[in-house]
């Protein structure tokens, strides 16, 4: 019997076109993902090959999650079908056993589902042997790569979801369940992802993720590029457990289904039907006379009809169960995402309105679904219920139906947006934050979001009307979304081609909506006019009556072209064209427009043409004196003044190479030298000019270069490209806008793959550590060593303008505020200019003035930052060298960028970090404001006092030392738990970062601007170093290093120099640490395999541990090999403190010489947990198995 039902199911499904369509869609998606850029699912990064097992597995896994939708469609109808087609009575009256019926249907459908799912591996397989693929980015073909993930992930996932959907279809007997459950499960799943993102829960998360994505990530996250290319995804560890759990859950669901399923035709509804009040008919129908009601069909009736229909459709949408399900799912997702709002190293931020808006934008996906789905539903509503002929014969103008459907949907959106605002306010209130900025809520949602919805709704109406088939209409609408992306792929990047383009940009408390409003408005006008044209066309072609053929629709449509409609079409057209021209005039005539291909061509040409000048001898700037005038409300500035250039080489220099800033806003009115010269060559395309001096500049001689730079903002450009440095409030720019000397390497194309495409040689990220050209220049470039600095800077009244140096004069003139800053000591060639409306908090430490310039309302963390400055200055003066300035300032700038940057005695600090962080529990949350402040103050030493050479490893001297310095300040201030937490994040970031290395991982001492090395690994390594050789020894080394190298011009120090100082203070027995930590990539695999204790006598316990320790060395590709171990490693035993927390009762370094070790330790308190390297000082990819709970023996 089972066999018959099973076979019947297969043959029934074989004839269903839907299954082939599902297969085709999934196949095409996957195939396009690997052979084109149009679809992006995961993919390879850097050295990982495009068909590496992990890459393919990840793509298959991601697609298997989205396969949920198909799983629900196939499995849901397995039993439901009988109810839908009213064949249940026939089915259930046959002598089939329930078990056979259910299992036959289930397994039959499941096999079909799996066959459809083979589209994934087949598509990837075909895609990878497709002739257009580049062979050097692929590994040799391996069948396992495609089928192993299929069996490990896809089959169990299909089984589990299939069981759920089968059960819900069979038990609910409602088709609406089938349509919504897939979406719902998917949404709930995506929602749960954000909850599981926190670090602590990785292991649990890997088990409770029904699709195994978390288990997969958890198992593979620290794989190096080498491993990623070599290893298949095995069915073991967390992946195995995860799969077992969820296949088990699927079986359980089937068992429950079997018991809960009743072989009855009628099933009691879960909901009691509402009793209908029946009224007695008192009047006999024959005696009724139909009264004569006045019929008025004029313009004002049309308004009434329009309103009636609008509210009717509006209410109709709200009565749709799938609609309600989508909305609830969307809101749920938001609330779940609100749990971990804006976390940075586990520390939350205040739920400011703009960050809540970011959260609310998560609902946009649901808006898209609602828009596509319900424009289709409404356009087709009357035809779907077959009321169309009646409604179409009503005396109303042709446009009323479409317009009221459109406006009805807009009302729906308005209500939803209002609901979102309520959600946002609730979320804020739940965090105890009561600064509800309703203006920003309304100002963003009812402009940007609503405009987007209006555009897409009108577009979908147009598509539905023209295509005249609901499902095809859905498909075309979605295809349109993809097509817009495709447009930019084929070079049509200009916003005038990007439908609906024009975001409102980033909101900032300082600059509010800034200059983004104007372009936003123009783009909306342009696109709105466009969709109005489409809509008018839709009105003409909309089907009224029973004619569906295009030429017949045109025949009746012609009659609809009355004056108002023609007027609408014409005005739409005029506005579309004229706003288009106006936008084009702004983006392309007033500003320079280049799409990314043009941009790349320019980069290539620049390199090919001018690379020869890269190391040509040039004088260096020794003095800068500028007058800078900032005009925030016009977004302009001018800078006029001079550089003194000195020939520091030992040969005469006869040509001065000047590179002007290439941005189109920047022009230099003049560049003059005080020595006779002529232009010998001018590269206008690159704004590169070579001036020939009549008499060469002799070694040691100087010349003065006068110039005037004008930065003019003309018109507007698209928001995503617009300049966010020179703005209404919160201007912050640096000397990059001024003329510089010689070839600028930063303008080169850096992407290795693109370079290969364009036949450019491979590019080293930095110069070798012993390259004399690199040693001769500092990290700030080769334009200057130390220089004298003076600046007069002015801005509009009400704003404060700030540059490095000390304020020596301040006055007002012609409604402008002027400030003169003078630097008393030589500084580097890197300076900031800032202007904003500021509040100022002042303090003093010794004779150093401390100031924080902040935006009113952002007072939350000022005390912490001030304390951070003080504590940092105390520690650094005491341990390194005296502070070189009499002043330290922090100034807030808008959140268009989220960093803090250290200029001489001046630190611009983004409003997006620190200023709005919220330390809820000082014992648990890392104080990022304090920490970032300490780090930036440390740069006054590491980078400003000691400028390092611009060669490999340079960031170890500035960034790693600043990380170390800040870490030591934190160590003095905060609890051990916080430091541990911080280091755990650093370890995670380092291991995560190296997994996605694009080129090659370097040892710390040769780091090439790799943040995960110089910041994250740097922290770990320096913390361990001070632990092994003592903080004092490290500081001693740094003190000596500073003494020898501070304030020196070229040659500059490198990591090799610094390491000498470290080696000096390191005992012989630990010298290997320097090699392991700085000069090589060394990792450990430490593990406690067995742990037990016995009570020797009262108050004396013997802990026995079996430990495994391995030491690994990785090459630059991440290929690791074991090396012999001769290391000192911590052994720790935890007891319980009085507060009930774990506390270390034993911590001591033991020497390890072999992989497996047994150790016995005597402790006096009752031990609970013990292990190797319990504080994670060494870099270990599986840090969670270092300790183990002790078993009493």
């Amino acid at each position: 019997m089972f066999k018959d039902i099973f076979a019947f199911e297969l043959s029934y499904r074989k004839a269903r076109a839907a299954n082939y369509v599902y297969f085709a869609i999934m196949f095409l998606l996957c195939f396009a993902a690997v052979t084109t850029d149009v679809v992006q699912i995961g993919g390879a990064v850097g050295q990982v090959k495009e068909n590496a097992p992990i890459v393919i597995a990840q793509m298959i896994l991601i697609m298997s999650v989205f396969f949920t939708l198909i799983s629900s469609a196939i499995m849901g109808v397995a039993v439901l079908r009988d109810f839908e087609h009213n064949t249940e009575a026939i089915m259930f009256s046959t002598p089939i056993k329930k078990f056979n019926y259910l299992m036959g249907r289930f397994w039959g459908s499941f096999v079909v589902l799996l066959l459809v799912a083979t589209s994934l591996p087949i598509a990837f397989m075909l895609g990878d042997i497709w002739p257009t693929r580049e062979a050097d980015r692929l590994l040799p073909f391996n069948l396992l790569t495609y089928w192993q993930p299929f069996f490990v992930f896809v089959v169990p996932n299909m089984f589990f979801t299939g069981a759920i959907f089968f059960a819900s279809g069979a038990l609910s007997r409602k088709s609406i369940v089938i349509y919504t459950q897939g979406i719902l499960l998917l949404v709930l799943y995506l929602a749960s992802q954000s909850m599981l993102r926190d670090l602590e829960q990785k292991e649990i998360a890997s088990l409770i993720d029904p699709f195994g994505v978390r288990a997969f990530n958890f198992y593979t996250e620290y794989w190096t590029p080498g491993e990623r290319n070599a290893l298949q995804i095995p069915l073991q560890g967390p992946i195995l457990f995860n799969r077992l759990i969820w296949v088990g859950a699927g079986i359980l669901i089937l068992v429950i289904t079997h018991f809960a399923f009743k072989f009855n035709v009628v099933q009691n509804s879960l909901f009691k039907p509402k009793p209908i009040k029946e009224e007695k008919q008192l009047i006999r129908s024959e005696s009724v006379i139909i009264p004569v009601a006045k019929q008025i069909v004029t313009g004002s009736t049309y308004v009434k009809q329009f309103l009636k229909l609008t509210f009717f459709y509006f209410k109709m949408v709200f009565r749709e169960i799938p609609f309600i399900a989508i909305v609830i799912a969307g809101m749920l997702l938001m609330f779940l995402n609100a749990v971990n709002l804006n976390e940075l190293y586990g520390t939350k931020s205040y739920p400011t309105t703009y960050s809540i808006l970011g959260l609310l934008s998560g609902f946009n996906l649901f808006f898209v679904i609602i828009t596509v789905l319900y424009t289709g539903e409404l356009v087709w509503k009357e035809r779907a219920v077959k009321l169309n002929l009646i409604i179409d014969a009503m005396p109303m103008p042709d446009f009323i139906q479409l317009v009221s459907k459109f406006v009805g949907l807009i009302l729906v959106y308005c209500v939803l947006l209002f609901g979102l605002i309520v959600c946002g306010v609730i979320i804020q209130a739940s965090y105890g934050y009561y600064k509800f900025e309703l203006g920003i809520y309304f100002g963003s949602l009812y402009t940007e979001t609503l405009a987007f919805l209006v555009l897409y709704t009108l577009l979908s109406i147009f598509i539905q009307v023209m295509v005249n088939n609901k499902f095809l209409g859905f498909a075309v609408s979605i295809a349109f979304f993809i097509m817009v992306i495709f447009f930019s792929q084929i070079g049509l990047e200009h916003p005038l081609f990007q439908f609906g383009n024009g975001s409102l940009g980033t909101y900032s408390d300082m600059n509010v909506y800034g200059h983004f409003v104007t372009p936003f408005t123009w783009f909306q006008v342009y696109w709105f006019a466009f969709v109005v044209i489409l809509f008018a066309i839709a009105v003409v072609f909309s089907v009224r009556g029973s004619e569906a053929v295009m030429n017949m629709r045109w025949k009746s449509g012609k009659l609809r072209l009355n004056r108002p409609l023609v007027l609408l079409l014409a005005s739409g057209f005029v506005i579309f064209i004229s706003s288009g021209f106006y936008i084009f005039y702004n983006t392309n005539i007033l500003n320079r427009y280049a799409n990314s291909d043009d941009q790349e061509e320019r980069q290539i040409a620049y390199e090919k043409e001018l690379k020869k000048f890269e190391f040509i001898a040039q004088p260096r700037i020794t003095k800068i004196d500028l007058k800078v005038d900032i005009y925030p409300s016009k977004r302009d500035f001018t800078a006029e003044g001079y550089f003194i250039l000195k020939n520091k080489t030992n040969q005469p220099i006869s040509e001065i190479h000047i590179q002007e800033n290439p941005e189109s806003e920047v022009k230099n009115e003049y560049i003059r030298f005080d020595k006779k010269n002529g232009i010998s060559k001018k590269y206008d395309d690159f704004k590169y000019t070579i001036y020939a001096l009549e008499t060469p500049l002799q070694p040691g001689d100087s010349l003065r270069m006068d110039f005037k730079t004008v930065f003019l903002t003309n018109g507007f450009v698209e928001n995503s490209n617009s300049n966010t440095q020179v703005i209404f409030n919160g201007t912050f720019f640096n000397n990059g806008y001024f003329p510089s000397l010689g070839y600028n390497r930063d303008y080169e194309m850096s992407d290795d793959n693109k370079r290969k495409e364009k036949k450019l040689p491979e590019r080293e990220r930095m110069m070798e550590r012993n390259d004399p050209r690199g040693l001769a220049m500092s990290l700030f470039g080769d334009d200057a060593d130390h220089l004298d600095f003076k600046m007069q800077i002015s801005t509009e009244k009400g704003q404060t303008a700030i540059a490095p140096g000390y304020l020596v004069k301040q006055w007002e003139e012609n409604g402008r505020s002027y400030f003169t800053y003078d630097m008393d000591a030589p500084m580097c060639n890197f300076f900031s200019m800032i202007s904003a409306r500021y509040e100022i908090k002042r303090d003093k430490w010794k004779d150093v003035n401390l100031e924080i310039y902040y935006h009113k309302g952002h007072e939350y963390n000022l005390d912490k930052m001030m304390q951070g400055m003080k504590d940092a200055l105390v520690y650094y003066e005491e341990n390194f060298s005296p502070f070189q300035f009499k002043q330290m300032r922090i100034m807030e700038f808008p959140r268009y960028a989220s960093f803090a940057q250290s200029f001489a005695n001046t630190v611009p600090f983004s409003e997006g970090i620190g200023f709005i962080q919220r330390v809820e529990d000082p014992d648990k949350d890392l104080d990022m404001a304090y920490y970032v402040t300490a780090h930036e103050v440390a740069h006054q030493w590491w980078g400003h006092q000691v400028m390092e050479a611009g060669v490999k490893g340079n960031a170890m001297l500035s960034e790693t030392m600043s990380q170390y310095s800040a870490l030591m300040v934190m160590k003095n201030k905060f609890s051990e738990e916080i430091i541990e937490k911080y280091l755990k994040y650093e370890l995670d970031r380092y291991l995560g970062g190296r997994a996605f290395e694009r080129k090659k991982e370097q040892p710390l001492a040769l780091v090439e601007s790799q943040g995960y090395i110089h910041y994250n690994k740097g922290s770990l390594v320096m913390y361990a170093l001070q632990d092994y050789i003592s903080e004092d020894s490290v500081n001693m080394a740094l003190k000596r290093f500073t003494k020898d190298w501070a304030f020196k011009d070229a040659p500059y120090p490198t990591s090799a120099d610094l390491l000498k100082y470290f080696r000096q203070v390191t005992p012989d027995s630990l010298q290997y640490l320097i090699t392991d930590m700085f000069e090589t990539i060394t990792l450990f695999e430490n593990k406690t395999t067995e742990a037990s204790y016995t009570e020797k006598s009262k108050g004396l316990y013997e802990v026995s541990l079996k430990l495994s320790t391995e030491k690994l060395r990785a090459d630059s590709a991440g290929i690791e090999s074991n090396i012999p171990i001769q290391d000192w490693i911590d052994i720790g035993v935890y007891g319980k403190s009085k507060a009930g927390k774990d506390s270390l009762i034993y911590l001591k370094k033991h020497k390890f010489r072999t992989k497996d070790n047994e150790i016995k330790i005597l402790v006096k308190d009752k031990p609970r947990k013990a292990g190797i390297d319990p504080l994670h000082k060494l870099i270990d990819r599986h840090s969670d198995d270092n300790t183990k709970s002790l078993i009493k023996k």
Partner: protein, 296 residues
Amino acid sequence: MQLIIDNLTKTYANGVQALKGVTLTINQGMFGLLGPNGAGKSSLMRTIATLQEADTGTITLGDLNVLTQKEEVRKILGYLPQEFGVYPKVDAVTLLDHLAVLKGIRNKKERKELVEALLHKTNLWKAKNKNLGGYSGGMKQRFGIAQALIANPKLIIVDEPTAGLDPAERNRFLNLLSEIGENTIVILSTHIVEDVKELCTDMAIINNGEVLYKGNPLDAIASVSGKVWKRRIEKNQLEEFRNQYTVISERLIAGRPEITVYNEDSAPEGFQKTEADLEDVYFSLIFGKQNVLATN
């Protein structure tokens, strides 16, 4: 006011020629449009109801050109399509009120009275607050009639309205139609001969897109009166009689066929005289071998 249909033709995209030069003049009162399924009745009705384009030909209603002045026609039109549905989650009162607004009944009080009267008239008062999705076929049909009567239409087009009604409902409906049929043009399309016979003063029979007969039902009956004969035969004789006579209808009575034949002169052998009926006219036109009434 007259509805004049002149030489109307329509061919669908799939090549089916639905109307082949239909010419009809329809006066006020009940007009029956009789024809089998697929004869082109609904195509003609939809075209008159402004919902379908014609390839050639004209339709005028008084001074109005129905094919181009659709808006004006719709103001005075009441239309019940052959097949229609309703919004399932809306009750009868709400939807009738909704449609009344669309028809241009602006006064709320008048609208309420109208809706109530229509519900009483169509015996839906009891179920007025029930969602339309739960209506039976007959109830739905009555609802359709109610909506077609909103705003005193001057032209009422009802396409197969009695299909699916039980005999009592059908009677009530026909009575209702006859009440309003006096100074209004009512076009009733049906394939049930009884409907036309009982109600219509004027009629047309169409098949395959062509008008086979137009005129008064009584005249039609008169034209065959005395020329129709019937006989009960055995099943195996059927073929033989078909070849021999102009058989216009066959039906089973107690399991044995009874055939009706058309014969101008006298009773064929074994046949009895029978009272001529409109049905005989209809069947003789639709199935008759000879076009017996072509001259009318």
